[in-house]
């Protein structure tokens, strides 16, 4: 349903003067103004950037500036020397830096050999070379300690000028170069080497040295004494002399004429590559020579202070201005701000270029720029109306969009018509190919066509929100950018193409349809390309730090201009196409204009159209918070050289470490942070960095503006960090720095340690194996021993006893019947033997159960054995040990025990005593054992069955190399005593006869 909201178009017709702005400008512009405009334009080609204490400048009195061949800028202040890499000021901190601490630096010279000469107020002269400082004072022939100027002549000889004398360095010693007799009190303030190789010295006199001769030049009379502060020779050969009394220009014939256009006391002269002279004055600002004379720059708009103490034109074509109140850099960035005449920042802005080239700035109020000068403008009849945007129809009519006051159409004849639209806040205009004008508002779109006005606020799917951008589609259709994506209007209907849905959460700030029909879409999240029904994000992150895109333009040389909140990117459209297809495509031509960082925080505007406009000379205009930004790319300029890259700081776990050589990280360090900086005195925001840690990273990383590489938890090993700096758009030219890194291994990561571990493991395994096998073996030994013991016991007791009984019984059987007595004895012996055998067998079993008690001492063994033996006999045992117990071997102990046992058995079985006394005596290296009883006693005789026991005892004692005595009398008890030497180790009887046999 198409509701053509018929324009309740109120035509307010009013006649205005034919707006021929250029003519108007001509009328308004007086000649003086024109000159002023020209002058401003010239100055505004330079972008100003200043540093003060709040920017890290330790002292604001900048007395000397020099640049060494390594690109570093050296800044001499009244409180010391600073080194500047374009980003940070570093207090001079080389070795011996204490020498320079708090020195008042008056003069600096960057010598051709790369070293730096430093002249101080009262401290003499210093030479900084190869990281070391050498001081020159009276000892080196420098008899006056206030060094006003240092100079290197064409031979490389160093000159030092003081208030009292000029010195030349010869063989590391300063010698007086002036003639103190003829040139009395010649104080030098400035030294100049001219093109002819002669040396001009200016101070209280002006003297020209040529080889060994010199000539003094007379200066025109001044009101006071002559005090030359600075000398300079410009490209035309002129010698310029800056004095306290003004600037003088010397002619070829040695005549000096005062330059009247430069006012004030001259402090410093410098020239730039264009051959222009720069003149710094005390209290009167800075003058810059141009074709017609001198331009003047002054505080506060152009300079931090009107007292300029030092000037230096660096290799990057920046002019450094050292003032009494800070350091200023004037650089050609291609950016020029035409500020709003009233200082206050605006809230919004569009920029529009009329067909005649006039630039209109719609901001808090309307301005126009004619010949680089911005002036406020008010349309007749639109007083107190805030104008947001403008459009010049191809018919010549001018559209003016207002804030809350609808849109006006001003025809070339001055007739003005107001069109009441659905939403009276206009955001932009677009004239399509058929001549109709689309009007974007805060609440939708409307169309004017041939006087007919249609508001599309009620049609199906109507856009009823801010329309932030417009672009013509095919066949009268329209692309509409909103805060919620992109809409499409065709045949009176609003639609949303499905692929566009991914933009529905994004603000579409800018639309541009290029000549091939491709739609470029600028959103708050970057650039998209709509081509052949495919929407594609164009990655710009590596090139440009701005995520939001406010405007998209394409100039006649096929360069695309993209603006964001803080910067502007100019990039070849082919490169953009390439990026859209393949993100890693290298960019061949691009320039980035860091608006905010270079222009005192100016911010670009978007959200209304036009947010940018191309001029007719390859440049572009943009609305900013501080004025109209004019970008004039230096089309002919070669790409800037990539500055050297220096490693600034290496932190291991937050602690700085020495990185002059390869760095050696301790094994325990976790975080490695390497900060680096380019030595780039111009704006650094274009520069990109990347790094790769060889042996760790597989590819380059961090192509952002980051200046720090961080690595954590590196493994032990050797690495090389490679750093590169380059300008995007010129990826082939890089400068690089490398750093060798060795991360030490934890002792437990080293090869030898691992080997050691392996060895230790092997050893442990071997030990375990040994212990196990020893255990097995000892278990085995125990088994064997036990078996052996058991076998021995059985043999000694059971088998021997049984065979004994057996032979006795056999003997009994063998006896003829008449030998009754012998038979009785045999039977008695057999009974005795079988009893003993049973006892022994029982003991053997008992021993089995109590294995381990052998560990006790021999007396205890004997006592226990005897007690056990007589436990149910009712006989009391009196046991005593005399002397110190001494160890005896197990075999000896066993033999002795058997003897004791036999003696006890005899006593118990035959004596029937009530008390048995057992005495062990250790004395004289012998053990003597006595078994006494109070029994019946006996008379030893052959026939007694006890006889065999005694024989056995005696034989055992003999084996112990001992002796046995038996004393007994009937009724008087008995005493058996045997003794044997304690050292009878030889009595370790071999248990296997076979061994004995084989040893023979």
């Amino acid at each position: 349903m198409n509701i053509g909201l018929n324009p309740a178009a109120v035509c307010i017709c009013c006649r205005v003067l034919a707006l021929r702005f250029s003519i108007l400008l001509c009328l308004l512009s007086a000649g003086r103004l024109d000159t002023y405009a020209q002058q401003s334009a010239d100055l505004q080609v330079f972008t100003h950037r200043s540093w003060h204490i709040q920017d890290g400048l330790p002292d604001e009195v900048i007395q000397a500036i020099a640049q060494t061949p390594d690109h570093y800028l050296w800044v001499g202040t009244s409180k010391g020397l600073l080194r500047f890499d374009g980003q940070n000021f570093i207090q001079f901190d080389g070795e011996d830096s204490y020498l320079l601490r708090a020195q008042d630096i008056l003069s600096l010279l960057a010598a051709r050999d790369g070293s730096l000469w430093i002249g101080t107020d009262g401290g003499g002269l210093f030479h900084y070379a190869n990281g070391r400082i050498q001081a020159y004072s009276a000892g080196e022939g420098l008899t006056y300690p206030i060094i006003r100027v240092i100079f290197e002549d064409s031979d490389g000889t160093i000159w030092a000028g003081s208030d009292f004398g000029i010195f030349k360095l010869k063989a590391n010693r300063f010698v007086r170069a002036d003639d103190p007799v003829k040139l009395v009190n010649f104080g030098a303030q400035s030294i100049l080497g001219d093109r002819d190789g002669s040396v001009w010295v200016g101070g209280s006199r002006l003297v020209r040295y040529q080889g060994s001769s010199y000539r003094e030049y007379k200066m025109p009379k001044q009101s006071g004494a002559l005090r030359i502060k600075s000398l300079c020779q410009t490209a035309d050969g002129s010698i310029w002399v800056g004095t306290v009394g003004g600037l003088y220009r010397g002619s070829q014939d040695g005549e000096f004429q005062k330059v009247m256009s430069v006012i004030g006391s001259i402090r410093i002269l410098e020239k730039d590559t264009k051959g222009r002279l720069w003149v710094g004055t005390v209290g009167n600002g800075l003058y810059v020579q141009n074709e017609s004379g001198f331009l003047h720059m002054s505080a506060p708009s152009d300079l931090p202070s009107n007292t300029v103490l030092s000037l230096l034109y660096d290799k990057e074509e920046n002019m450094w201005v050292g003032t009494q109140a800070g350091l200023l850099r004037l650089s050609r960035t291609g950016m020029r701000m035409v500020p709003f005449p009233d200082v206050s920042d605006s809230d919004f802005g569009t920029v529009f270029q009329d067909t005649d080239g006039t630039i209109w700035i719609c901001s808090t109020r309307l301005f126009r720029i004619v010949h680089e000068v911005m002036e406020p403008y008010t349309f007749p009849g639109l007083k107190n109306v805030t104008i947001r945007t403008m459009l010049r129809e191809r018919s010549g009519a001018l559209w003016v969009g207002t804030m809350g006051r609808d849109a006006y159409r001003i025809e070339p004849n001055g007739r003005m018509t107001r069109y009441i639209i659905g939403n009276s806040y206009v955001r932009g205009f677009l004239q399509s190919e058929d001549g109709s004008v689309w009007i974007a508002t805060d609440g939708g779109v409307s169309r004017w066509k041939n006087g007919r006005f249609d508001g599309f606020h009620m049609v199906a799917g109507a856009v009823r929100m801010n329309v932030t951008s417009l672009a013509s589609g095919p066949a009268g259709s329209l692309w509409i950018g909103t805060p919620h994506g992109l809409r499409f209007f065709r045949d009176q209907r609003f639609t949303s193409a499905a692929p566009m849905d991914q933009l529905k959460d994004h603000s579409v700030w800018a639309l541009h349809k290029d000549s091939s029909g491709v739609l470029w879409i600028g959103t708050d999240s970057g650039l998209y390309r709509w081509k052949d029904g495919v929407l594609r994000h164009v990655p710009l992150d590596d090139l440009w730090s701005a995520p939001a895109i406010y405007s998209i333009m394409e100039d006649s040389s096929h360069m695309m201009w993209l603006s964001g909140p803080t910067s502007v990117l100019r990039i070849r459209s082919e490169d953009l196409e390439g990026l859209a297809v393949h993100a890693a495509e290298p960019v061949r031509e691009m320039q980035m204009f860091p608006v905010s960082s270079e222009l005192q925080g100016a911010e670009l505007y978007g959200g209304m159209q036009p947010s940018g406009v191309l001029d007719h000379h390859g440049g572009a205009w943009f609305p900013t918070s501080q004025g109209a930004l004019h970008i004039i790319p230096r089309l002919d300029a070669p790409p800037p050289p990539v500055p050297p890259l220096e490693i600034e700081r290496v932190l291991a776990d937050g602690r700085p470490i020495d990185f002059r050589h390869a760095i050696d990280l301790p094994a325990g360090s976790r975080t490695l942070e390497i900060s680096y900086a380019p030595v780039l005195l111009s704006s650094q925001s274009n520069l990109r960095f990347r790094h790769i840690l060889r042996n760790f990273d597989s590819s380059w990383n961090g192509t952002s503006a980051e200046r720090t590489s961080v690595y954590t938890n590196l493994r032990a090993g050797r690495y090389t960090l490679e750093l590169q700096a380059f300008f995007p758009g010129n990826p082939d030219q890089v400068s690089s720095a490398t750093l060798a890194i060795r991360k030490q291994a934890h002792f437990y990561q080293t090869k030898w340690f691992l080997l050691l571990c392996a060895a230790a493991l092997a050893l442990i395994a071997w030990l375990i194996d040994r212990i196990r096998s020893n255990q097995l073996r000892s278990r085995f030994s125990l088994v064997i021993e036990e078996r052996s013991r058991l076998a021995r016991e059985i043999h000694d007791s059971v088998i021997q006893g049984c065979t004994g009984v057996s032979v006795l019984l056999e003997a009994y059987s063998a006896m003829p019947p008449h030998h009754a007595e012998a038979q009785a004895q045999l039977i008695s012996s057999a009974r005795e033997e079988i009893k003993a055998t049973i006892d022994n067998a029982r003991d053997a079993v008992w021993d089995l159960r109590h294995a381990g008690e052998e560990s006790q001492g021999f007396p205890q063994q004997v006592q226990a054995d005897v007690e056990k033996f007589m436990h149910d006999s009712g006989v009391r045992l009196e046991f005593s040990v005399v002397g110190d117990e001494a160890p005896i071997g197990p075999v000896v102990a066993r033999e002795a025990l058997m003897v004791v046992r036999e003696a006890v058995r005899n006593a118990l079985h035959h004596g029937q005593p009530s008390i048995l006394r057992l005495i062990l005596r250790y004395q004289w290296g012998e053990l003597s054992i006595s078994v006494l009883d109070n029994g019946r006693g006996f008379t030893p005789s052959n026939g007694d069955v006890r006889h065999f026991g005694l024989i056995g005892m005696r034989e055992r004692v003999e084996r112990l190399r001992g002796s046995l005595t038996v004393q007994s009398k009937e009724g008087k008890g008995s005493e058996v005593t045997f003794s044997f030497p304690l050292d009878s180790l030889s009595l370790e009887f071999p248990k296997a006869e076979t061994v004995q046999e084989m040893r023979r």
Binding site: S781, S806, F948, E955
Partner: protein, 204 residues
């Protein structure tokens, strides 16, 4: 009258044997000894017609005593009377010159029979003894060193201790042990000991 020397460390045994012999009208015990050395000494003094010899004796072994006796009189007639019945004991005894081999616990008839046989210049080997001898294979003859090692194994010594005691390196001892295991056709030391005890290669 057959004059007999009895060598046995067990007095009861000697008493019993002497009683048996004494019961025979044509035999007489002329001496009794409790050890090998004593036995040899008495033999040299008494020149008995026959010696009854125990093998397990304190000090000099029975086999040594037999060798000594046979050395002093190659005609000496010796009968072994022992509790051992391993083939090695039998073999060693017979090789030393014993003419008879009796196991203790035999009846008095057989003992007397054996004495008469041997006294008559014959050998007396009961069937169970002679059958043992035939199982003894020459391959299984252990070298002297191997016997020493085996004896020490029986004492429960490890290779190291054995090496120390015999003045050998542990490796050499290992070598001997391997050889012993191989000759006795057994897997380990325990089996070796059991076999060695059975065969009389060692005694406990």
């Amino acid at each position: 009258m057959i004059r007999i020397l009895v060598v046995d460390d067990h007095p009861i045994m000697r008493f019993g044997i002497a009683s048996i012999i004494g019961s025979q009208p044509d035999m007489q015990v002329v001496g009794q000894a409790g050890s090998g050395e004593e036995g040899v000494d008495l033999f040299k003094q008494l020149h008995p017609d026959l010696t009854l010899m125990d093998l397990q004796l304190p000090g000099m072994s029975g086999v040594s005593a037999i060798q000594n006796i046979r050395f002093s009189n190659s005609e000496a007639k010796v009968i072994v009377l022992t509790t051992y019945k391993g083939e090695e004991d039998i073999f060693q005894s017979l090789r030393s010159g014993a003419a008879g081999y009796l196991i203790k616990g035999i009846s008095h008839d057989r003992l007397v029979d054996a004495i008469r046989h041997v006294y008559g210049g014959k050998k007396y080997l009961p069937a169970e003894i002679s059958s043992k001898l035939t199982t003894r294979t020459p391959d299984a003859i252990l070298s002297g060193r191997e016997r020493e090692v085996l004896a020490l194994i029986a004492e429960g010594d490890g290779n190291k201790q054995i090496g120390k005691k015999l003045g050998l390196t542990e490796g050499t001892v290992k070598c001997h042990v391997g050889s012993i295991l191989g000759k006795l056709q057994v897997e380990d030391r325990t089996q070796a000991l059991i076999v060695a005890l059975q065969r009389g290669l060692i005694h406990l």
